[in-house]
């Protein structure tokens, strides 16, 4: 294997990846500056260049490409949300994900597994029925199945009634999928750079330059740069960057932790989630069990891991999958998430002219990467809030028009 890898590396037939090429100098002026080279920022750049003919773009990141929450999520993609606004939005994302490998010419390893949201109480069954009806109405494939059907479709799951929370049924969403999150960011970077977009990693934004109430550029640790429009897509640091632009957000920054087990042979095809037990699990292509839970109990700008998280997670996980007691934890990590009061993102126009925001992505950001980039590009190109993004505007908090997305990952029912 190492020899084959060396041979591959030295083969002149494979050229270096353009997304890793360092851009030494800034241009004097850009049409658009995007702060944050994660999946969302790069997708926005890609769709601006490919759909709207805007390619004079600089994407800045204080660290490296796709190194934030793009690389820290548990890669679940689904559209079975609760609110009509949320379902319509995530449905478009699933459609874009399906054609993404082809469009950006990189294998994102998109793999449809089937997604089970387990119900352990009558109340959870009721929510499942509610979600299924909203989903079906909007053309998303979702149905409620009983315990026998759950056991048949997901034979690894412990269906015993001799546990604290027996499984009563589930919301079954067949298109639920996994994808390689790094490849999504790399693919968008590759596609955008092939169209003339510049990516500047290692470039920290330290201020937003304004003329009156109009954003005209950014101050960076490599000097000022000017642009017609500026987009911030900096999950976890949204409040800090928006403060530089001069406005506040309805966001609390709270860590979200996850871990993977040592790799084992394929035992779990499906994606299994329990809102009541605050756990979700799937098996990656290389055999690791990828596990996560709800956000930490209090806010923090830090990505440390805690024992409390793993204890709480495993207590419930072992009830669902007793065989997991024999597995060891291989890696653990955390990311810092933008939590909003209504578990929905904040996107689009801001109080500052020519300054656009993509934030509030809490625990649901990866699955929205394509649609978010697609619609943010439309928003930036036209200067208007697209219909699909209207429910997620920052203004909703001042009009008492919150979205209330109880289908989000960290919410119990």
């Amino acid at each position: 294997m190492p020899l084959a890898l060396l041979k591959y590396g030295l083969n002149p037939g494979f050229r270096d990846a353009p997304q890793l090429r360092w851009q030494p100098e800034f241009k004097s002026n850009y049409d658009v500056i995007i702060i944050g080279a994660g999946g969302h920022g790069l997708a926005t750049a890609f769709y601006l260049a490919s759909r709207h003919g805007v390619s004079n773009i600089a994407v800045l990141d204080k660290a490296w490409l796709g190194g934030g929450n793009t690389a820290r999520n548990t890669t679940i993609i689904r559209a079975n949300y609760l609110t009509p606004e949320g379902v319509a939005f995530y449905k478009e994302s699933v459609e874009l994900f399906r054609g993404l490998s082809e469009e950006v010419d990189i294998n994102i390893m998109y793999s449809e597994r089937g997604h089970f949201t387990l119900a352990h109480t009558d109340a959870a069954m009721r929510t499942a029925r509610w979600r299924a009806e909203v989903n079906k109405h909007l053309g998303v494939d979702s149905e409620v199945i009983d315990a026998d059907e759950v056991g048949r479709l997901c034979p690894t799951l412990n269906m015993s009634e001799e546990v604290r929370y027996p499984v009563l049924g589930a919301l079954y969403h067949p298109p639920g999928a996994l994808a390689r999150h790094d490849a999504v960011a790399w693919g968008y970077a590759k596609g955008a750079m092939a169209r003339g977009v510049e990516v500047h990693p290692g470039t920290e934004v330290t201020g937003i330059l304004k003329e009156g109430n109009r954003a005209i550029g950014v101050e960076t640790d490599r000097g000022p740069i000017y642009a017609g429009k500026i987009v911030q897509a900096v999950a976890g640091s949204s409040s800090r960057v928006s403060a530089l632009a001069g406005f506040r957000l309805p966001i609390k920054t709270i860590p979200l932790q996850a871990c993977v087990s040592e790799p084992v042979k394929p035992v779990l095809d499906q994606i299994v989630v329990s809102g009541s037990l605050h756990v979700y699990i799937s098996q990656s292509a290389r055999g690791e069990m990828v596990m996560g839970g709800s956000t930490d109990p209090y806010g923090l700008y830090g990505s440390r891991s805690t024992l409390d998280f793993k204890e709480g997670l495993m207590a419930h996980m072992l009830e669902l999958f007793p065989f997991m007691a024999e597995l060891r934890v291989l890696r653990q990590w955390g990311g810092i998430a933008d939590m909003t009061p209504d578990f929905s993102p904040v996107m689009g126009l801001t109080p500052v002219e020519n300054y656009y925001i993509d934030s509030g992505w809490g625990t649901w950001g990866f699955k929205a990467t394509p649609v978010c980039g697609f619609r943010m590009a439309e928003c930036v190109a036209t200067g208007r809030q697209p219909d699909l993004l209207k429910p997620f505007a920052l203004d909703r908090f001042h009009n008492f028009d919150l979205v209330g997305e109880k289908g989000a990952a960290s919410v119990g029912h």
């Binding site: 506040r248 609390k252 209090y298 806010g299 923090l300 440390r304 409390d308 009061p341 908090f397 001042h398």
Partner: protein
């Protein structure tokens, strides 16, 4: 397990406590809708030292802690009575 010093119950495991957010003053009842919604929903979300409300859940006791939100270090905890009398003086 991380330990927090409750002003009433002494040092306890952090999982006995509930985070209740920033200490902030409510606007006057006659304020505009925008001021009121800002108070309800909009956050400073500072990355640094912040005064926060905490609740010791088993004894239902509310108090105030100053905590560094980058390092997670708890600098001190005070009863609300001590905190607000100190702030006035």
């Amino acid at each position: 397990m991380k330990i927090m010093h409750c002003p009433l119950n002494g040092p306890r495991n952090i999982d006995e406590f509930v985070w209740m957010g920033d200490v902030k003053s409510a606007p006057e009842p006659t304020c505009s809708d925008r001021e009121w919604t800002s108070y309800l929903f909009i956050e400073d979300n500072l990355a640094g030292e912040v005064d926060e409300w905490w609740l010791h859940a088993p004894s239902n006791y509310w108090f105030i802690a100053r905590r560094n939100r980058i390092t997670d270090k708890i600098l001190w905890t005070r009863s609300p009575a001590d905190y607000f009398s100190e702030r006035k003086s």
